[in-house]
Symmetry: C2
């Protein structure tokens, strides 16, 4: 717009220098002042802040980072400035993903990679972030527009694609591999992948990519009735992958049969989506900046304000072969991990003064029993308030093996489970 | 801007009809197309959605309410449309209040009253909602600009004032009393007041106004180190008011002495603010639309993802006289409440079929013991993870009464407590 307005002004000046009568000259003067007005109006609506070279902790109103750098001075985060070196990929820029992207942008994350194939609709307006004037834009374009206005320091990459297609998956994984932003980083080009998609298939695709790339990621989800949600940390080989155990849901206390009626669209609330996005990015910040306790699984039941937590170990019978490879690597690396832990511990004992409270490399001394790979499905011990979203495969398989199908009750039971699986 | 652009176009047309040579004519054609471009660009940035007369549950992309009305069809909320009849007042349009306002706006609340005296600064950009181009605007004006774009159906009233001044307090209480939006409503003109302020004095002022008006309100807060927060429901006479007990904080595990260094501004995070705003508005929706359990107190410890809850009864020795009056009224109304509860119960027993699960008037049959007004300070039994923000007054008072100050240790102790009170 600025270019066009400058063009009009130049044309008017050129015209004024050509042969014109006094009334024509006066008219051109009037137009020039009108163009100036429009230019000023346009500017006031799009005043952007300049880029910032280094994060400053100076306590002045004009410093967009003062309240974040205060975390360092208050002893919460040891080195907040590290945030500028991290890349985070967000898959799904909907009710949770868009808010997560805005939070990371406002925190001054180094680089964001955004993936979505969908367009903004008025039906999305009951969740935070997108605005009615963005209706019709792709979610990725609309997000880049808003986020670059909020914080021009963040490097934004947007991918308008469906990761569940062959071409989409290829672009997705190669963008994660790209290390041009941080050439010296080990592993992939991103520190973390956040899955904010709304369906099972896309989650399995993120799971596949992260298992292949040995990429730590976090999963998030909100129930179709909008009153429960969860976040989950997945470290290939170390924790359960998404295929290791059937997905868990936070029991909302609402009869599930009322949820899946035909022609009924899923409900959603800006509150539940906002809380889940907040918990997800909070856990991401704790993971990236190494403060507090990174939570392996956190549920949110909005009707009761209940927040169950749990840990899930990988399944040695996981159907995902890349997961099994990562599990093997994790077991093989155990002696090295133990040695590093011992070294770290003796170094701390030797240090004079108080013991370090920080743990930069997230190393912990663990009991051998804790390292045993153990399938949570087998124990069946879920914390209060959590249930499996799908029937448990093991239980389903056990039935026909245990007894031949002579019993009519068993058959009925089996049918019900099959129906549930197909639902 | 549109008027100015139309003016330029008219002037150009007029000029084209006067005597000009062909090259001048061509230049004017070029300028006209440039003005058209600017007009289109200006329009694309300010496309607003039209107002909606009635909330529709129709599942189409163009319906901004379809995902909210789905709550009704899924059996979560009995009557979602009621939301259009409620007014909510939000005091403090900062990191929590602005997000709470946006959530309620996107939920289609009837009317919002916004109170703040502050201006938008770049230093606010690490929290959601405000944008860099709004720097210098009052927070109330900037909020109205953004919220009216998001949902033109919400009636927005903004009050740029400080409620802790005499004039500000008067305008605040009279705006709460104003019943022009819902003339038949009992009590004040608003259904709920949300306190999203960042200091003790302003909270005491909201407490005073709500005790005087017998107004139910919710309190919210985030710690200065940005890693803990809380929400609290306050019903005058029925629950503890803000003066009944010293304010509680969620223990963050961070040494409090490191927090209050001179010249250090408070830290803040969009995550913690977003989670607290989400929990606050979720509790508000449950209270207004009568679903789930309204939580009396919910804490949030971000470092451990720990969420303590508790209930607080009013203090019969509360220093606030309006609170004591509300407590008397609540006790006097006990027989009527009991009778209504009995009637409701027998009506439910008489009804054929399954018992009603909804409870439109929030009536409950309570044991006599539960109604006893009891000061939580006396019992001293706080749930795990919660501590008093200030020293407990009762304990402080008990000391000199119990023994005369002969013991030097006691004196030292007293001194420490006095210092803590003055800190």
């Amino acid at each position: 717009m600025e270019t066009e307005l400058k063009g009009i002004l130049d044309d008017l000046k050129f015209l004024q220098n050509s042969f014109l009568d006094p009334s024509q000259q006066a008219l051109i003067d009037k137009m020039r002042s009108r163009v100036d007005n429009v230019t000023n109006l346009a500017k006031s609506g799009t005043m952007h802040r300049a880029k910032v070279k280094e994060l400053s902790a100076e306590v002045v109103d004009s410093n967009p980072y003062s309240r974040l750098m205060a975390l360092q001075r208050m002893g919460i985060v040891e080195n907040y400035e590290r945030i500028r070196h991290f890349s985070v990929a967000i898959v799904g820029i909907g009710g949770v993903g868009s808010v997560a992207a805005e939070m990371l942008t406002r925190c001054g994350i180094g680089r964001l990679l955004l993936y979505d194939y969908d367009k903004v609709e008025l039906a999305n307006m009951n969740r935070l972030f997108f605005r009615p004037e963005q209706v019709g834009m792709t979610k990725t374009d609309a997000a880049v527009q808003t986020l670059s206005d909020i914080n021009p320091d963040v490097v934004l990459e947007s991918y308008t694609l469906n990761i569940t297609t062959v071409q989409g998956f290829e672009t997705f994984t190669s963008s994660l591999r790209n290390k041009s932003f941080s050439p010296n980083k080990e592993g992939s080009g991103v520190a973390l992948v956040l899955s904010c998609v709304d369906n099972y298939e896309a989650r399995m695709v993120v799971n596949q990519a992260c298992n292949e790339l040995n990429q730590t990621w976090m999963e998030s989800g909100v129930s179709e009735n909008a009153v429960s949600g969860h976040i989950q940390l997945l470290i290939p080989g170390e924790t359960a992958c998404f295929a290791c155990a059937p997905p868990l849901v936070v029991a909302s206390g609402v009869d599930e049969r009322t949820l899946k009626r035909e022609g009924v669209c899923a409900a959603s609330l800006p509150t539940t989506m906002g809380v889940v996005a907040g918990l997800l990015v909070q856990n991401s910040l704790k993971y990236l900046l190494n403060f507090g306790q990174v939570t392996p699984y956190l549920g949110y039941n909005a009707l009761k304000d209940f927040f169950p937590t749990m840990e899930m170990k990988p399944n040695p019978q996981c159907s995902n072969s890349a997961c099994l490879e990562r599990q093997k690597e994790y077991i093989l690396a155990k002696p090295a991990r133990d040695a590093a832990a011992r070294e770290k511990m003796s170094a701390e004992v030797l240090t004079e003064g108080p013991l370090h409270e920080e743990n930069e490399w997230n190393i912990s001394v663990v009991d051998d029993n804790d390292l045993t790979i153990n399938d949570t499905r087998c124990s069946g011990a879920l914390p209060e308030g959590l249930t499996h979203e799908l029937p448990i495969a093991d239980e389903f398989e056990k039935l026909p093996a245990a007894e031949s199908s002579n019993d009519a009750d068993d058959l009925e039971d089996l049918k019900r489970q099959l129906e549930a699986l197909n639902a």
